[in-house]
Symmetry: C2
Subunit: 388 residues, 2 copies
């Protein structure tokens, strides 16, 4: 078990109707000038936008809309920073999915810094303070509502970079699973794949403890069971709630305190795919997962595959260990295929042409040669080719 230093100060307000019940009380703890950040029109169609505006009608609300999936430094972060400075914003209320919240974190950190916003987002300059963030999260996927990080893309340079600071933990996250009843199936599935992958990145590592394994296996089994329920009944509250709870815990570390770091290799590889091609992050992860597993399987990593295969898929411990591992890889592929995820790069519009360029970009920027299962540039290229 490795040493850890862990703190997640965010207050989670979870359940049916919690926005109507507590948003005014929470926002009343901050000053009057609010920046409300959101994406496209979905919160207007759903009525959430109107509800929030009504609940906060006594506040001075400024708006930053149009934040895209894989949120962009330019224009979204820059516009948000400008508004915060000009209007002396007291609190930012993010309403939407993980991308809206990730973008909001970058704005909150950069707005109170004298440095160039890009230097804050790339962490060349440390974040020393941030505007408080409250969020109403509408998508069960990234876990951004319970962590201190985000991922920001810069289109000009094909960069998709993580931004972290303990100052950008949301102060309060509102999570009402009913908001996910009307999501397009594609987004529900991509969120499930994102979360399963978050958990696998923490599960596949050198040092690990028994109760973390049980927690993570239980969470993945819950996601796999409940996604099939919501595909049949999109408004099944219990299933939506279990999914949202599993995804909320995805990235703050609670699944794996005491585990050694694995290096998040699948995310590193996928980030290049969505930076170069702007594909859906969860779909990219589903495609990469079984190919990464197959590539790193060897006698040294075998124990994790056996634990995963028996713990998640119930594969018999009586089988030879290598066979358990191969069945586990097949099982995760078949699970994704079975729920209708695209499982090749070609299905999401990516061909061979830039594979080597992406592999080089990943090898230079992501430090995967230091991961639990080290990957050199040739390994990364081989994994990407296997995804075609």
């Amino acid at each position: 078990m490795v040493n850890f230093d862990y703190q997640t100060p965010t207050r989670l307000i979870f359940g049916r109707g919690v926005v109507a019940e507590k948003l005014q009380e929470v926002m009343g703890q901050y000053g009057n000038r609010v920046l409300m950040t959101y994406g496209g029109g979905s919160i207007k169609r759903s009525g959430l936008y109107a509800q929030v505006k009504e609940l906060l009608k006594d506040k001075e609300i400024h708006e930053l809309s149009g934040i895209q999936p894989n949120p962009k430094f330019n224009p979204s972060v820059l516009d948000g920073v400008r508004i915060c400075r000009e209007k002396q914003i007291d609190v930012i209320l993010a309403v939407g999915g993980g991308s809206v919240l990730d973008c909001t974190k970058a704005i909150a950190g950069a707005a109170l810094s004298d440095a160039d916003p890009w230097d804050v987002v790339t962490m060349k300059v440390p974040t020393l303070k941030a505007i408080p963030i409250v969020d109403i999260i509408t998508l069960a996927a990234t876990g951004s509502e319970y962590d201190s990080g985000g991922v920001i893309s810069r289109t000009e340079t094909n960069d998709k970079l993580p931004y972290f600071s303990k100052h950008v933990f949301p102060a309060v996250s509102f999570i009402d699973p009913t908001y996910t009843f009307t999501l397009p199936l594609k987004q529900t599935l991509a969120g499930i794949a994102d979360c399963i992958n978050h958990i696998m990145e923490q599960y596949f590592c050198g040092e690990h403890i028994m109760m973390n394994d049980a927690f993570m296996e239980g969470a993945i089994k819950s996601l796999m069971k409940n996604v099939r329920i919501v595909m049949q009944e999109p408004d099944n509250y219990e299933a939506r709630a279990e999914i949202f709870y599993a995804t909320t815990l995805g990235c703050n570390g609670i699944y794996s305190l005491g585990n050694s770091p694995g290096g998040w290799p699948m995310h590193a590889i996928e980030h290049a795919l969505s930076a170069y091609y702007d594909i859906t992050h969860g779909e990219g992860l589903a495609i990469v997962t079984p190919r990464w597993m197959k590539h790193i399987l060897n006698v040294r990593t075998l124990e994790r595959f056996v634990a995963f295969g028996t713990g998640v898929f119930g594969i018999s411990r009586e089988l030879p260990e290598m066979e358990i591992a191969e069945q586990a890889i097949q099982a995760i592929h078949d699970f994704y295929k079975g729920i209708g995820m695209p499982m090749t790069l070609r299905e999401v519009g990516i061909d061979e042409s830039r594979i080597d360029e992406m592999a080089h970009h990943i090898a230079v920027n992501e430090g995967l040669d230091q991961a639990w299962a080290p990957l050199q540039e040739a390994d990364i290229a081989a994994i990407l080719r296997a995804c075609l």
Copy 2:
């Protein structure tokens, strides 16, 4: 899944050597006047007292020692409040087990209130602020290092009462599993029983979710496995660390977010035992557990017993459900017996003489008629008699 509103702001610094590494940095964030609280002489014998004094030699340190197990309102809480007021203490550093920390929370909350300290501790008067608390926890048991509550005893009235306030979450908890290497076996076992029981109180309830079950079953299995390791090798770091991690999460709610409350009936019953007879809390819990289970087993509660028996003890799902439940009750009894816990009240010096008086006290004060498995006074008396 039930709605929840959850926040645990405590920073956990966990692992070998963390006090030497980070205590000065942490304490440097507070003012100069420190109240150090501790129990008997064990931290002096272990060298921890001297280490802390050396690390904090630039601070003005006042001391409150002699805090007992089942910590007493009079004199410990009252003395602590007096010192805090007289010396204008900036931060309290609790060094010891759960009792020292529970007592410290009551001191921290009462010291900044104008009300009578007993009214604060009994929550007749709300706690509006508290002196910041840092702790070095030396016993894996209560989980007080990661929650906002404590239990305070008042000997004159046989009261053993919970005290809660969000203001008394420790700001920082230092957890070094090596401190538990030299614990007397009795304390190690009592801590294990305390934690298993904390988890069971959260597991046996009406509404529950799949991933919480997996987490809690995994934690109990980890405790049951690792206690047998440390009985053979008291200085096995990995086993001590897994135990400490499981106990740390025991009472802040993270094991069961979204579960409905069970009412903590076993704790309610045990609190009377240790209030009337000052027995070791964990031993009382081990004795009560199988008798409570047996008493509340019926067709309505059966599902929880089946999940528990198959998930924790690997009892076959092929058996009739009532048989799984009975085997599960026997298995938890045999586990405690097998590690050498006393399993009858007589073994801890309690006879029949005050059973009815305790049952009445519990029935009047604990609200167990509202628990998931409701208990009237006659039920409580029957459970206590079955423990004899």
